[in-house]
Amino acid sequence: MAFNHKHLLGIQSLSAQDIRTILDTAESLSEISSREVKKVPILRGKTIINLFYEASTRTRSSFELAAKRLSADISNFSKATSAVVKGETLKDTILNLEAMNIDAIIMRHASSGSPHFVSSFCSSHVINAGDGTHEHPTQALLDALTIQQEKQTFKDLKVVIVGDILHSRVARSDLYLLKKLGAKVVLVGPPSLVPPAFKKYGAQIDYNFDRAIEDADVVMMLRIQLERQKRIYFPSLSEYHELFSLTPQRFSRAKHDAIIMHPGPINRDVEISTDMADSAKSVILKQVENGIAVRMAVLYLLLGGKEREITD
C-alpha cells in the first residue's frame, strides 16, 4: 500500500494500486468533513501554494479546503494579481515561491506539461490541478471515487464520455484511470472533437450518441470549452445540442441504474438539459463533495509523515 511518489503530475504515471491507495485513503478521510470541527492536525506546519494561472472556482477552493482540513497553511496565487503581469517567467515565479520555504505547489496552467517542467527543477511537491489539454488527475480520482461509491466495481463498467474530448484534460485523465481499473470507455462527440488517436489508449469511439449510450452504466458529460477552441469545430451550438446533449429521451436508453456525471461547470441546456442535471440520477454534486476527500488523500499521501524513500 505504500505510495512512493513525490509529485502527482498525472494519472498516466500511477499504477492501479496507487489509485486504489488514494481512493481508500479518501474514503477514510471523508468522515472528517462531516464533523463539527472539520480539522485534523496531520499537516500542521506545512505550507502549500495554490498557483492558478487559469480560472477555477471548484478545484481551487476544493484544494484550499482540503489543505485547511488537514491543518496545512495555504496561500492562493492567481495570475491576474501577481508579478506575472509584469513579465515574470514561470520558472522565476516558482524559484521565488520556493525561497519562501514552501512544501508543495498545487498548479493549474494553460500549457500542457507545465507541472512536469516545474517538477524538474523545484524541490517541493508538485500537484497538477490541470495542465492545458493534458491531464487533471484529481478530477479523475474524484470521478473514480464517485463511481466506486455508486457501482462498487470498475470491472466491465461501460462509461460513456461525451463532448469536447479533443480539448478535455478531464477526459484524458478519466480514460487513463478507468482503463487501469478495468472499465470500458466510449468517447462520443462530433468527429472534429473526438480524434481517432484515443483508440491507442484503449478507448472505443462513437460519433453517434444515441447508439453509444445503449446499456451505459455511467454517462459523463463534458463542457464545450469555447475558450480553448481556436477554430470552428461544429456548425452551431444548436446542432451540437441536437446531437450530443443529454436529454431524458437519450438517457432512457442507458441502463436503468445509470448515473450522470459532469466535471462542471455545466452549461445548462447546451451539453445537458436542466432536468437531467438536477435529476436523481445525477451525482454531479456528489463529485464536488468527493473532490475534497480525494484532495485531502493526495495531500496526506504526498506530504504526510516523515521523509520516505521516493521511487519516482
Binding site: M1, S28, E31, I32, I42, L70, Y300, G304, K306, E307
Partner: protein, 186 residues
C-alpha cells in the same frame, strides 16, 4: 534473522479472567453505566472494546455504544520512516459530549498513542470524562499518562515487543513477548 517469541505470558484462560475483572471494575466505578461509551483505538483496541461491551451486556444487561478511533492523523511518532501509515476511518456515530468515554487500547508503552487518541477525541466533542483501559501496561512512559484499568502489568525491556494476539484477527488469544530480529541479548 527472524523475530523470536521469547515467552508466552498469558493464555486464553488468563486473558478471559482479566477481561472479567476489568469489566467488574468498570461497572463498579461507573455508577451511571447509561452515560458510558466505549471507543476502541484501531486495530486491537476495537476488538477489546467489543469484548468489554459484550461482558457489560452479560453482567448488567446494558448495551454500551462502541466507536472506532483511527489516530493516524494525530500521531507524532512515525516509528518507521520508510513505512507509510495507512489512514483508516474513524467511526463514532454517537455524540461524546457530556459522556463518560472509556478509551481502549491493547498495549500502553510510551503513552504517545493515547496522547494522540485524546487529542482526537477532544476534536470530536467535550466528554464529561475520559477513562483509559489497556490490556498490557509495559512501562517506559514518556508522557504523564496512566491507565484506569489494566489487564496485566508487564515490565519489559525497551527493545522487546509485547504482542496481544486476539482470536478475532490472530486466531487465538495469547500474550507474547517478542525479541525483534537483529537485537543482541543483553
Amino acid at each position: 534473522m527472524e523475530d523470536k517469541v521469547k515467552a508466552k505470558i498469558m493464555d486464553s484462560r488468563k486473558i478471559k479472567r482479566s477481561f472479567h475483572r476489568m469489566t467488574h471494575e468498570i461497572i463498579e466505578r461507573n455508577r451511571d453505566l447509561n452515560n458510558l461509551v466505549i471507543v476502541g483505538v484501531r486495530t486491537r483496541g476495537v476488538f477489546i472494546a467489543h469484548r468489554i461491551q459484550g461482558l457489560i451486556q452479560e453482567f448488567e444487561g446494558i448495551e454500551i455504544p462502541v466507536g472506532v478511533l483511527d489516530i493516524t492523523l494525530y500521531r507524532d511518532d512515525f516509528s518507521d520512516p520508510t513505512e507509510q501509515h495507512i489512514v483508516k476511518k474513524t467511526e463514532i456515530d454517537f455524540s461524546i459530549d457530556k459522556r463518560d468515554v472509556l478509551l481502549v487500547d491493547d498495549v500502553l508503552f510510551t503513552g504517545r498513542t493515547i496522547r494522540a487518541a485524546m487529542d482526537s477525541l477532544i476534536d470530536l466533542g467535550r466528554p464529561k470524562s475520559i477513562q483509559l483501559l489497556v490490556f498490557i501496561d509495559r512501562g517506559h512512559r514518556e508522557l504523564p499518562i496512566r491507565a484506569d484499568y489494566v489487564g496485566k502489568f508487564l515490565p519489559t525491556s525497551r527493545r522487546e515487543r509485547v504482542k496481544l494476539q486476539m482470536k478475532e484477527i490472530d486466531n487465538k488469544d495469547e500474550v507474547l513477548i517478542i525479541e525483534p530480529a537483529g537485537t543482541k541479548q543483553e
